[in-house]
Protein backbone atom coordinates (compact mmCIF):
# COMPACT_ATOMS: atom_id res chain seq x y z
CA UNK A 1 0.00 0.00 0.00
CA UNK A 2 1.62 3.22 -1.16
CA UNK A 3 1.13 5.99 1.37
CA UNK A 4 4.41 7.91 1.61
CA UNK A 5 3.76 9.96 -1.54
CA UNK A 6 0.58 11.94 -1.97
CA UNK A 7 -0.63 10.88 -5.45
CA UNK A 8 -2.38 14.20 -6.14
CA UNK A 9 0.68 16.29 -5.34
CA UNK A 10 2.87 13.96 -7.40
CA UNK A 11 0.48 14.09 -10.37
CA UNK A 12 0.52 17.89 -10.18
CA UNK A 13 4.30 17.87 -10.26
CA UNK A 14 4.23 15.63 -13.32
CA UNK A 15 1.62 17.78 -15.02
CA UNK A 16 3.53 21.00 -14.47
CA UNK A 17 7.10 19.80 -15.10
CA UNK A 18 6.60 16.84 -17.46
CA UNK A 19 6.85 13.14 -16.59
CA UNK A 20 10.30 12.62 -18.15
CA UNK A 21 11.74 15.53 -16.27
CA UNK A 22 10.21 14.28 -13.01
CA UNK A 23 12.02 10.94 -13.54
CA UNK A 24 15.34 12.80 -13.66
CA UNK A 25 14.32 14.90 -10.69
CA UNK A 26 13.61 11.76 -8.65
CA UNK A 27 17.14 10.53 -9.43
CA UNK A 28 18.55 13.84 -8.24
CA UNK A 29 16.53 13.64 -5.02
CA UNK A 30 17.65 10.05 -4.39
CA UNK A 31 21.26 11.24 -4.75
CA UNK A 32 20.86 14.38 -2.65
CA UNK A 33 18.69 13.15 0.23
CA UNK A 34 21.04 10.55 1.81
CA UNK A 35 23.77 13.19 2.37
CA UNK A 36 21.12 15.39 4.01
CA UNK A 37 20.17 12.57 6.38
CA UNK A 38 23.86 11.99 7.12
CA UNK A 39 24.33 15.70 7.75
CA UNK A 40 21.45 15.62 10.25
CA UNK A 41 23.08 12.77 12.18
CA UNK A 42 26.53 14.37 12.10
CA UNK A 43 25.26 17.80 13.07
CA UNK A 44 23.37 16.25 15.98
CA UNK A 45 26.46 14.32 17.11
CA UNK A 46 28.61 17.45 16.77
CA UNK A 47 25.97 19.72 18.40
CA UNK A 48 26.03 22.04 15.35
CA UNK A 49 22.58 23.62 15.45
CA UNK A 50 22.68 25.72 12.25
CA UNK A 51 23.80 22.95 9.86
CA UNK A 52 21.20 20.72 11.50
CA UNK A 53 18.42 23.23 10.89
CA UNK A 54 19.57 23.80 7.33
CA UNK A 55 19.67 20.12 6.44
CA UNK A 56 16.20 19.66 7.94
CA UNK A 57 15.01 22.68 5.96
CA UNK A 58 16.35 21.29 2.65
CA UNK A 59 14.85 17.88 3.27
CA UNK A 60 11.47 19.42 4.14
CA UNK A 61 11.55 21.51 0.98
CA UNK A 62 12.42 18.59 -1.34
CA UNK A 63 10.03 16.17 0.34
CA UNK A 64 7.11 18.53 -0.20
CA UNK A 65 8.11 18.96 -3.86
CA UNK A 66 7.41 15.26 -4.44
CA UNK A 67 4.32 15.15 -2.24
CA UNK A 68 6.12 13.20 0.51
CA UNK A 69 3.90 14.87 3.09
CA UNK A 70 4.79 12.78 6.15
CA UNK A 71 8.51 13.06 5.48
CA UNK A 72 8.14 16.82 4.96
CA UNK A 73 6.22 17.19 8.24
CA UNK A 74 8.84 15.22 10.15
CA UNK A 75 11.67 17.29 8.67
CA UNK A 76 9.74 20.48 9.42
CA UNK A 77 9.45 19.50 13.10
CA UNK A 78 13.21 19.03 13.22
CA UNK A 79 13.77 22.36 11.47
CA UNK A 80 11.54 24.26 13.87
CA UNK A 81 12.35 22.49 17.12
CA UNK A 82 16.01 21.73 16.47
CA UNK A 83 17.79 19.54 18.96
CA UNK A 84 14.74 19.61 21.28
CA UNK A 85 13.04 17.17 18.89
CA UNK A 86 16.18 15.47 17.62
CA UNK A 87 16.43 12.22 19.49
CA UNK A 88 18.23 9.32 17.80
CA UNK A 89 14.82 7.66 17.66
CA UNK A 90 13.36 10.64 15.80
CA UNK A 91 16.19 10.52 13.26
CA UNK A 92 15.73 6.77 12.85
CA UNK A 93 12.02 7.31 12.21
CA UNK A 94 12.91 10.02 9.69
CA UNK A 95 15.32 7.68 7.88
CA UNK A 96 12.64 4.99 7.81
CA UNK A 97 10.10 7.40 6.39
CA UNK A 98 12.65 8.49 3.77
CA UNK A 99 13.23 4.84 2.81
CA UNK A 100 9.47 4.38 2.33
CA UNK A 101 9.20 7.58 0.25
CA UNK A 102 12.27 6.64 -1.81
CA UNK A 103 10.85 3.19 -2.57
CA UNK A 104 7.58 4.69 -3.76
CA UNK A 105 9.37 7.30 -5.84
CA UNK A 106 11.45 4.59 -7.51
CA UNK A 107 8.27 2.67 -8.31
CA UNK A 108 6.69 5.83 -9.73
CA UNK A 109 9.84 6.57 -11.72
CA UNK A 110 9.91 3.10 -13.27
CA UNK A 111 6.16 2.89 -13.81
Amino acid sequence: MATAIDPIAFAELQASAGADFVRELIDTFLEEAPPMLAELREALAGARAEPFRRAAHSLKSNASTFGAATLAAMARDLELQGFAAATPAALAALAQQYAAAAAELKALRDA
Binding site: G18, E32, R54, S61, N62, T65, L80
Partner: protein
Protein backbone atom coordinates in the same frame (compact mmCIF):
# COMPACT_ATOMS: atom_id res chain seq x y z
CA UNK B 1 -5.52 45.86 -18.84
CA UNK B 2 -3.66 43.27 -20.82
CA UNK B 3 -0.06 43.99 -21.78
CA UNK B 4 1.32 42.43 -24.92
CA UNK B 5 4.99 43.32 -24.45
CA UNK B 6 5.86 40.18 -22.55
CA UNK B 7 8.50 38.44 -24.56
CA UNK B 8 10.88 35.86 -23.16
CA UNK B 9 12.99 37.22 -20.36
CA UNK B 10 16.40 36.26 -19.07
CA UNK B 11 16.07 34.96 -15.53
CA UNK B 12 18.53 33.84 -12.90
CA UNK B 13 17.65 31.16 -10.35
CA UNK B 14 19.74 31.17 -7.17
CA UNK B 15 19.21 28.09 -5.00
CA UNK B 16 21.70 25.80 -3.28
CA UNK B 17 19.35 22.84 -3.37
CA UNK B 18 19.74 20.93 -6.62
CA UNK B 19 16.19 19.55 -6.76
CA UNK B 20 14.73 23.02 -6.23
CA UNK B 21 17.11 24.58 -8.71
CA UNK B 22 16.37 22.06 -11.47
CA UNK B 23 12.63 22.20 -10.91
CA UNK B 24 12.42 25.98 -10.88
CA UNK B 25 14.64 26.23 -13.96
CA UNK B 26 12.43 23.71 -15.72
CA UNK B 27 9.18 25.54 -14.82
CA UNK B 28 10.60 28.82 -16.08
CA UNK B 29 11.90 27.31 -19.30
CA UNK B 30 8.46 25.81 -19.92
CA UNK B 31 7.11 29.35 -19.62
CA UNK B 32 9.39 30.35 -22.47
CA UNK B 33 12.09 32.17 -20.54
CA UNK B 34 15.82 31.83 -20.88
CA UNK B 35 17.16 30.65 -17.53
CA UNK B 36 20.56 30.42 -15.87
CA UNK B 37 21.20 29.17 -12.35
CA UNK B 38 23.61 29.69 -9.46
CA UNK B 39 24.22 27.39 -6.48
CA UNK B 40 24.72 30.19 -3.94
CA UNK B 41 24.38 33.93 -3.43
CA UNK B 42 28.00 34.77 -4.17
CA UNK B 43 27.92 33.14 -7.62
CA UNK B 44 24.50 34.68 -8.30
CA UNK B 45 25.80 38.15 -7.54
CA UNK B 46 28.81 37.66 -9.83
CA UNK B 47 26.53 36.56 -12.67
CA UNK B 48 24.18 39.49 -12.09
CA UNK B 49 27.08 41.94 -12.14
CA UNK B 50 28.11 40.57 -15.52
CA UNK B 51 24.74 41.87 -16.65
CA UNK B 52 21.89 40.90 -18.92
CA UNK B 53 19.37 39.56 -16.41
CA UNK B 54 15.79 40.80 -16.17
CA UNK B 55 14.80 39.13 -12.92
CA UNK B 56 16.23 37.11 -10.03
CA UNK B 57 14.50 34.23 -8.28
CA UNK B 58 16.21 34.00 -4.95
CA UNK B 59 16.31 31.31 -2.31
CA UNK B 60 17.07 32.55 1.20
CA UNK B 61 18.93 29.64 2.79
CA UNK B 62 22.22 29.29 0.92
CA UNK B 63 25.84 28.65 1.91
CA UNK B 64 28.61 31.24 1.26
CA UNK B 65 26.15 34.10 0.83
CA UNK B 66 22.51 33.81 1.82
CA UNK B 67 19.51 35.52 0.27
CA UNK B 68 19.34 38.33 2.81
CA UNK B 69 22.95 39.26 2.05
CA UNK B 70 22.22 39.17 -1.69
CA UNK B 71 19.26 41.55 -1.22
CA UNK B 72 21.45 43.92 0.80
CA UNK B 73 24.19 43.87 -1.84
CA UNK B 74 21.67 44.49 -4.64
CA UNK B 75 20.16 47.47 -2.81
CA UNK B 76 23.64 48.99 -2.46
CA UNK B 77 24.51 48.49 -6.13
CA UNK B 78 23.43 51.33 -8.42
CA UNK B 79 23.31 49.11 -11.49
CA UNK B 80 21.31 46.35 -9.81
CA UNK B 81 19.07 48.00 -7.26
CA UNK B 82 16.09 48.10 -9.63
CA UNK B 83 16.41 44.46 -10.63
CA UNK B 84 13.16 42.71 -9.65
CA UNK B 85 13.70 39.93 -7.13
CA UNK B 86 11.18 37.22 -6.34
CA UNK B 87 12.05 35.33 -3.19
CA UNK B 88 11.25 31.62 -3.36
CA UNK B 89 11.68 30.10 0.03
CA UNK B 90 10.24 27.70 2.53
CA UNK B 91 11.55 29.83 5.39
CA UNK B 92 9.25 29.65 8.37
CA UNK B 93 7.67 32.73 9.83
CA UNK B 94 5.96 35.87 8.56
CA UNK B 95 8.85 37.91 9.99
CA UNK B 96 11.14 36.52 7.30
CA UNK B 97 8.66 37.44 4.57
CA UNK B 98 8.46 40.99 5.85
CA UNK B 99 12.24 41.20 6.11
CA UNK B 100 12.58 40.17 2.46
CA UNK B 101 10.06 42.73 1.28
CA UNK B 102 11.70 45.43 3.39
CA UNK B 103 15.06 44.56 1.84
CA UNK B 104 13.55 45.29 -1.56
CA UNK B 105 12.27 41.94 -2.81
CA UNK B 106 9.42 42.36 -5.25
CA UNK B 107 7.51 39.37 -4.04
CA UNK B 108 7.66 36.26 -1.90
CA UNK B 109 6.59 32.79 -3.03
CA UNK B 110 6.48 29.85 -0.65
CA UNK B 111 7.97 26.53 -1.76
CA UNK B 112 7.00 24.30 -3.35
CA UNK B 113 6.29 27.03 -5.87
CA UNK B 114 2.92 26.82 -7.61
CA UNK B 115 3.53 27.08 -11.37
CA UNK B 116 0.48 29.27 -12.10
CA UNK B 117 1.36 31.66 -9.29
CA UNK B 118 4.96 31.75 -10.45
CA UNK B 119 3.93 32.70 -13.95
CA UNK B 120 1.62 35.46 -12.72
CA UNK B 121 4.23 36.94 -10.38
CA UNK B 122 6.98 36.88 -12.99
CA UNK B 123 4.68 38.56 -15.49
CA UNK B 124 3.81 41.28 -12.99
CA UNK B 125 7.44 41.82 -11.95
CA UNK B 126 8.70 42.05 -15.51
CA UNK B 127 5.89 44.44 -16.35
CA UNK B 128 6.86 46.69 -13.45
CA UNK B 129 10.50 46.54 -14.54
CA UNK B 130 9.53 47.45 -18.09
CA UNK B 131 7.67 50.46 -16.75
CA UNK B 132 10.61 51.52 -14.59
CA UNK B 133 13.03 51.11 -17.51
CA UNK B 134 10.69 53.18 -19.65
CA UNK B 135 10.64 55.91 -17.01
CA UNK B 136 14.43 55.92 -16.77
CA UNK B 137 14.69 56.07 -20.53
CA UNK B 138 12.27 59.01 -20.64
CA UNK B 139 14.24 60.86 -17.98
CA UNK B 140 17.34 60.35 -20.07
CA UNK B 141 15.57 61.62 -23.17
CA UNK B 142 14.18 64.69 -21.44
CA UNK B 143 17.72 65.52 -20.44
CA UNK B 144 18.88 66.78 -23.85
CA UNK B 145 16.88 68.99 -26.18
CA UNK B 146 18.59 67.48 -29.21
CA UNK B 147 17.15 64.11 -28.38
CA UNK B 148 13.70 65.59 -27.79
CA UNK B 149 13.86 67.32 -31.16
CA UNK B 150 14.98 64.14 -32.81
CA UNK B 151 12.02 62.34 -31.27
CA UNK B 152 9.58 64.94 -32.54
CA UNK B 153 10.89 64.52 -36.05
CA UNK B 154 10.58 60.78 -35.82
CA UNK B 155 6.91 61.02 -34.90
CA UNK B 156 6.94 61.14 -31.13
CA UNK B 157 5.32 64.06 -29.40
CA UNK B 158 7.08 64.75 -26.15
CA UNK B 159 6.22 68.00 -24.45
CA UNK B 160 7.56 67.40 -20.98
CA UNK B 161 7.10 70.09 -18.39
CA UNK B 162 7.68 70.26 -14.67
CA UNK B 163 4.49 70.35 -12.64
CA UNK B 164 3.54 69.95 -9.02
CA UNK B 165 0.96 67.26 -8.51
CA UNK B 166 -0.04 64.12 -6.66
CA UNK B 167 0.45 60.59 -7.90
CA UNK B 168 -1.50 57.53 -6.80
CA UNK B 169 -0.79 53.83 -7.24
CA UNK B 170 -3.37 51.21 -6.37
CA UNK B 171 -3.55 47.47 -6.73
CA UNK B 172 -5.57 44.47 -5.66
CA UNK B 173 -4.06 42.48 -2.82
CA UNK B 174 -3.51 38.75 -3.34
CA UNK B 175 -4.87 39.04 -6.83
CA UNK B 176 -3.24 35.83 -8.01
CA UNK B 177 -4.87 33.86 -5.20
CA UNK B 178 -8.18 35.42 -6.19
CA UNK B 179 -7.62 34.43 -9.83
CA UNK B 180 -7.01 30.85 -8.82
CA UNK B 181 -10.10 30.71 -6.63
CA UNK B 182 -12.57 31.47 -9.42
CA UNK B 183 -13.23 30.86 -13.13
CA UNK B 184 -11.56 33.28 -15.62
CA UNK B 185 -14.88 34.85 -16.66
CA UNK B 186 -15.46 35.85 -13.06
CA UNK B 187 -12.02 37.42 -12.85
CA UNK B 188 -12.63 39.48 -15.98
CA UNK B 189 -15.98 40.57 -14.65
CA UNK B 190 -14.35 41.46 -11.33
CA UNK B 191 -11.60 43.47 -13.02
CA UNK B 192 -14.14 45.36 -15.12
CA UNK B 193 -16.14 46.20 -12.01
CA UNK B 194 -12.97 47.13 -10.16
CA UNK B 195 -11.78 49.52 -12.88
CA UNK B 196 -15.23 51.06 -13.28
CA UNK B 197 -15.44 51.80 -9.55
CA UNK B 198 -11.86 53.09 -9.32
CA UNK B 199 -12.19 55.31 -12.42
CA UNK B 200 -15.37 56.74 -10.96
CA UNK B 201 -13.74 57.64 -7.63
CA UNK B 202 -10.62 59.05 -9.30
CA UNK B 203 -12.22 61.12 -12.05
CA UNK B 204 -14.95 62.21 -9.64
CA UNK B 205 -12.21 63.89 -7.63
CA UNK B 206 -10.45 65.46 -10.61
CA UNK B 207 -7.78 62.79 -11.17
CA UNK B 208 -6.75 61.03 -14.36
CA UNK B 209 -5.99 57.31 -14.65
CA UNK B 210 -2.97 57.10 -16.92
CA UNK B 211 -1.70 53.55 -16.53
CA UNK B 212 -3.31 50.23 -15.90
CA UNK B 213 -0.80 47.71 -14.69
CA UNK B 214 -2.07 44.16 -14.42
CA UNK B 215 -4.43 44.29 -11.48
CA UNK B 216 -3.51 47.84 -10.54
CA UNK B 217 -3.45 51.39 -11.81
CA UNK B 218 -1.61 54.70 -11.65
CA UNK B 219 -3.45 58.02 -11.45
CA UNK B 220 -2.32 61.64 -11.56
CA UNK B 221 -3.94 64.59 -9.77
CA UNK B 222 -2.87 68.07 -10.92
CA UNK B 223 -1.83 67.24 -14.47
CA UNK B 224 -2.45 67.62 -17.40
CA UNK B 225 -4.96 70.17 -16.01
CA UNK B 226 -3.98 72.05 -12.85
CA UNK B 227 -6.01 71.10 -9.79
CA UNK B 228 -6.09 73.47 -6.81
CA UNK B 229 -6.02 70.86 -4.06
CA UNK B 230 -4.42 67.86 -5.77
CA UNK B 231 -3.23 66.17 -2.56
CA UNK B 232 -6.64 66.48 -0.87
CA UNK B 233 -8.39 65.31 -4.03
CA UNK B 234 -6.16 62.22 -4.26
CA UNK B 235 -6.73 61.23 -0.63
CA UNK B 236 -10.49 61.79 -0.93
CA UNK B 237 -10.45 59.58 -4.02
CA UNK B 238 -8.47 56.95 -2.09
CA UNK B 239 -11.02 56.96 0.75
CA UNK B 240 -13.87 56.61 -1.76
CA UNK B 241 -12.05 53.76 -3.46
CA UNK B 242 -11.75 51.89 -0.17
CA UNK B 243 -15.46 52.47 0.53
CA UNK B 244 -16.43 51.20 -2.91
CA UNK B 245 -14.22 48.13 -2.51
CA UNK B 246 -15.90 47.42 0.82
CA UNK B 247 -19.30 47.62 -0.86
CA UNK B 248 -18.10 45.32 -3.59
CA UNK B 249 -16.74 42.99 -0.91
CA UNK B 250 -20.06 42.73 0.92
CA UNK B 251 -21.81 42.04 -2.39
CA UNK B 252 -19.31 39.31 -3.10
CA UNK B 253 -19.70 37.90 0.42
CA UNK B 254 -23.45 37.56 -0.15
CA UNK B 255 -22.70 35.58 -3.29
CA UNK B 256 -20.31 33.40 -1.28
CA UNK B 257 -17.18 34.81 -2.93
CA UNK B 258 -13.87 35.84 -1.42
CA UNK B 259 -13.53 39.46 -0.31
CA UNK B 260 -11.23 41.78 -2.20
CA UNK B 261 -8.77 44.22 -0.73
CA UNK B 262 -6.68 46.99 -2.25
CA UNK B 263 -3.60 48.97 -1.26
CA UNK B 264 -3.12 52.62 -2.22
CA UNK B 265 0.05 54.74 -2.16
CA UNK B 266 -0.09 58.54 -2.61
CA UNK B 267 2.83 60.96 -3.01
CA UNK B 268 2.97 64.69 -3.77
CA UNK B 269 5.75 66.72 -5.34
CA UNK B 270 7.33 67.89 -8.54
CA UNK B 271 7.32 65.66 -11.61
CA UNK B 272 7.85 65.83 -15.33
CA UNK B 273 4.59 65.39 -17.19
CA UNK B 274 4.02 64.91 -20.87
CA UNK B 275 2.76 62.76 -23.68
CA UNK B 276 4.65 59.69 -24.67
CA UNK B 277 4.11 57.13 -27.39
CA UNK B 278 3.30 57.20 -31.08
CA UNK B 279 0.92 59.61 -32.78
CA UNK B 280 -1.67 56.86 -33.00
CA UNK B 281 -1.58 56.09 -29.31
CA UNK B 282 -0.22 58.76 -27.03
CA UNK B 283 -0.26 58.30 -23.28
CA UNK B 284 -0.09 61.12 -20.82
CA UNK B 285 2.27 60.26 -18.06
CA UNK B 286 4.41 61.61 -15.28
CA UNK B 287 7.88 60.60 -14.25
CA UNK B 288 10.23 61.36 -11.43
CA UNK B 289 10.86 60.68 -7.77
CA UNK B 290 7.28 61.43 -6.75
CA UNK B 291 5.99 58.69 -9.05
CA UNK B 292 8.56 56.26 -7.72
CA UNK B 293 7.68 57.13 -4.14
CA UNK B 294 3.96 56.62 -4.69
CA UNK B 295 4.69 53.16 -6.14
CA UNK B 296 6.91 52.31 -3.17
CA UNK B 297 4.24 53.46 -0.72
CA UNK B 298 1.67 51.31 -2.46
CA UNK B 299 3.96 48.28 -2.18
CA UNK B 300 4.59 49.14 1.46
CA UNK B 301 0.88 48.83 2.33
CA UNK B 302 1.53 45.06 2.35
CA UNK B 303 4.16 45.48 5.04
CA UNK B 304 2.46 48.22 7.06
CA UNK B 305 -0.88 46.39 6.82
CA UNK B 306 -2.67 49.66 6.07
CA UNK B 307 -4.90 50.31 3.08
CA UNK B 308 -3.77 53.90 2.35
CA UNK B 309 -0.25 55.27 2.82
CA UNK B 310 0.83 58.83 1.98
CA UNK B 311 4.11 60.75 2.07
CA UNK B 312 5.00 63.80 4.18
CA UNK B 313 4.20 66.33 1.42
CA UNK B 314 0.73 64.93 0.93
CA UNK B 315 0.17 64.92 4.68
CA UNK B 316 1.32 68.53 4.97
CA UNK B 317 -1.14 69.64 2.28
CA UNK B 318 -4.00 67.82 3.98
CA UNK B 319 -3.55 69.91 7.14
CA UNK B 320 -6.31 69.14 9.63
CA UNK B 321 -8.88 68.24 7.04
CA UNK B 322 -8.18 64.51 6.95
CA UNK B 323 -6.66 62.67 9.90
CA UNK B 324 -3.44 60.75 9.37
CA UNK B 325 -1.30 58.59 11.57
CA UNK B 326 2.51 58.83 11.53
CA UNK B 327 4.13 55.41 11.03
CA UNK B 328 7.73 56.62 11.29
CA UNK B 329 10.44 56.52 8.65
CA UNK B 330 10.95 53.71 6.17
CA UNK B 331 14.01 53.03 4.00
CA UNK B 332 12.79 52.33 0.45
CA UNK B 333 14.89 50.78 -2.22
CA UNK B 334 16.08 53.44 -4.65
CA UNK B 335 15.80 56.18 -2.02
CA UNK B 336 18.94 57.57 -0.44
CA UNK B 337 17.22 58.70 2.77
CA UNK B 338 14.45 57.11 4.85
CA UNK B 339 11.02 58.48 4.01
CA UNK B 340 8.35 59.47 6.52
CA UNK B 341 5.21 57.40 6.02
CA UNK B 342 1.68 58.26 7.13
CA UNK B 343 -1.40 56.08 7.14
CA UNK B 344 -4.84 57.47 6.37
CA UNK B 345 -7.24 55.62 8.67
CA UNK B 346 -10.23 54.19 6.86
CA UNK B 347 -12.89 51.56 7.28
CA UNK B 348 -10.86 48.71 5.84
CA UNK B 349 -7.58 47.86 7.48
CA UNK B 350 -5.57 45.49 5.32
CA UNK B 351 -5.90 42.19 7.13
CA UNK B 352 -2.83 40.52 8.55
CA UNK B 353 -1.99 37.70 6.10
CA UNK B 354 -1.19 35.41 9.02
CA UNK B 355 -4.79 35.80 10.10
CA UNK B 356 -3.84 37.54 13.34
Amino acid sequence: MHETHRGPARLLVADDNKVNRLLLTRSLELQGHSVASAPNGRVALEMLRDGGFDLLLLDMEMPEMNGFEVLEQLAADRALRDLPVIVTSSLEGLGNVVRCIELGAEDYLAKPVNAVLLKARIGASLEKKRLRDQQKELVRRFATSEVAQDLQQSGFALAGRRVRGTVMFCDIRDFTALVESQPPEETIELLNTFYTLMFDAISGNGGVVNQMIGDGLMAIFGAPLPLADHAGAAVRAALEMIELIELLGSERAEAGRAPIRIGIGVATGEMVAGYTGTQQRATYTCIGDTVNLAARLEAHTKVALRAILVDAETRAELGDRIATEALGSVAFRGKALPVEVFAVPCGAPVADPSGG
